[in-house]
Symmetry: C2
Subunit: 326 residues, 2 copies
């Protein structure tokens, strides 16, 4: 059996079991870990990016790759309700790599960190056959409760900060040979709504995740972990992110928008929009799922969308990007 | 200009400059970063390990690779005087990788962490052409001052916890076709003296580093950063680590022994031995360096050994492993 036979989620489940999963507050499926310290806690998250799989230097400048690599991990900290403080960078690359690539990546990492007041505090550089960036972000909660995927409650509203689908639309354009325009720029350099994470925590949000696998997949994870049903208003999504195909809105990751839940009646913080509502799982036989309401939803996306395997053992449709099958 | 033209230390200096080096307490040359938090500080360090360059599955089992990968980063935390608390793991590997490799690495990471009471709290798994492990370790100081390479003072004694040279001796045997014995085992699975880090901090140590580039190179870094001269007693080293060639004792890394300085007259903690003394840099023209005293030192290692470029611009002999030239 190979890792591709196991698939990403199967592999993660297997490894987490062997490692001995850490307990609450945050579990293996959350955007980041919450590490207890003698006097509080630290948020920590690691991401790997491999050239040709997660970025391409013919599509993105080294500077943009640095910006995007930092953004990915900093957004994970924000998705826990945290404020990023520090980045650690591992860079593996062939000895023949032009120094301008390293310079550009470093500049991009630095400038994205500067947006949130974080700094690159350490790292490692080694020789390898391909370029691989390992980015670890640390952050702090300043006494706030971490926002996990398990806290959504019936009667909450569903909220979105930032955008969805624009990066995926930009990727489609890049694949078609287009090399500029706002959607291509959104793919090269996402703009996560960093401050919305702590703001939502402060406002009493009950759950929050970074949209990395697509809105349906990530909300499906939250529905499953929280034991609720989400009803998402596609018209509200369309109004928030105009000019993007509904398929990208529902399945595109990499914008690093933040989606979660807020008690009904609470005013959303600036830049945060209501896109749906939370319902209880129905009577016997009901299951956590994401339902879509609105016009113009492609038939294969109508749902309902559920997290993880269906009762018959087949994988549910709300399954995200599987790195090992691509 | 390529990264191999710049060399590891040149590349690190260049990148650190671009990133904007963090200030004290710990600088870019130290084993780990010290990240301030609202209520204390967190130690953090990242290492990358690439198959075929940092480990070989025909020489080491996946379990041993996991143990060694964790040990490398956990030892960096100990070298700051810290206690490791958490590991984050990035694993890049080809989709065809047998699942037993992932299982074994995970088990090894878990068991090495268990030695120090740390846990793997998070990670990422992605597809790549070669196996690359990114290991980030976090730790705490519990109010102790971090032990950097810049604190050694004249009249301190030089101390060593753990061993040096045994891993390098084991590597030489592996290269010669030997596949077992205690030195080969020491290469496959180092045993860093984790508890000596906090114990030395508690005892008032003035500097401490993990020996990763070899004793001469790493002590050379401390001499340079602290502005002192070290005099190392080779006979004391031989007595501490019997059966290992003096060249390996002086230049071998990867045992992850801890070397540093303690005020004269302070009793070394258990497992810590005195191997030399610290002197002031002499009058005008004197420079920080490492001197060796004792019998049987190979002529090319007699020194003195200095950190960084010599005044004529050539690299000094106390230069460590350069990943990008290998």
């Amino acid at each position: 059996m190979s890792v591709s036979d196991a698939g990403e989620f199967g592999l993660i489940a297997r490894v987490v079991t062997r490692l001995g999963a850490p307990g609450p507050p945050a579990g293996p499926g959350d955007d980041a870990a919450v590490v207890p310290t003698p006097s509080g806690s630290v948020i920590a998250t690691t991401d790997l990016l491999v050239e040709g799989r997660h970025f391409r230097f013919d599509w993105s400048s080294p500077y943009d790759v640095g910006r995007k690599a930092a953004a990915q991990s900093l957004a994970d900290v924000a998705a826990m309700g945290g404020t990023p403080t520090a980045l650690l960078i591992g860079l593996a690359c062939p000895p023949s790599t032009p120094i301008e690539i390293v310079d550009g990546v470093a500049d991009g990492l630095r400038d994205e960190c500067a947006l949130v007041g974080a700094v690159v505090v350490g790292g490692d550089m080694v020789s390898a056959s391909e370029v691989c960036l390992a980015v670890t972000a640390l952050g702090e909660l300043a006494g706030r409760t971490p926002l996990t995927r398990a806290g959504a409650r019936p009667s909450d509203v569903v909220v979105l900060a930032g955008t969805v689908g624009r990066s995926a639309a930009g990727l489609e354009l890049l694949l078609a040979g287009v090399r500029d325009g706002p959607l291509v720029a959104a793919h090269r350099r996402p703009s996560p709504p960093y401050s919305a994470g702590p703001a939502l925590a402060h406002a009493g949000a009950s759950s929050l995740v970074d949209v990395s696998d697509g809105l349906l997949a990530d909300l499906g994870h939250v529905a499953g972990a929280s034991g609720v049903v989400f009803e998402v208003d596609v018209a509200a999504l369309r109004a928030l992110v105009p000019g993007v195909d509904v398929r990208h809105l529902l399945t595109g990751g990499e914008d690093h928008g933040l989606v979660g839940t807020l008690p009904a009646g609470v005013d959303p913080p600036p830049g945060v929009a209501v896109i749906g509502r939370t319902l209880p799982v129905g009577p016997a036989g009901g299951r956590p799922e994401v339902r879509l309401v609105g016009e113009g939803i492609p038939p294969d996306l109508r749902g309902p969308h559920r997290d993880g395997p269906a009762p018959d053992g087949t994988a549910g449709p709300a399954r995200g990007w599987d790195h090992f099958s691509h």
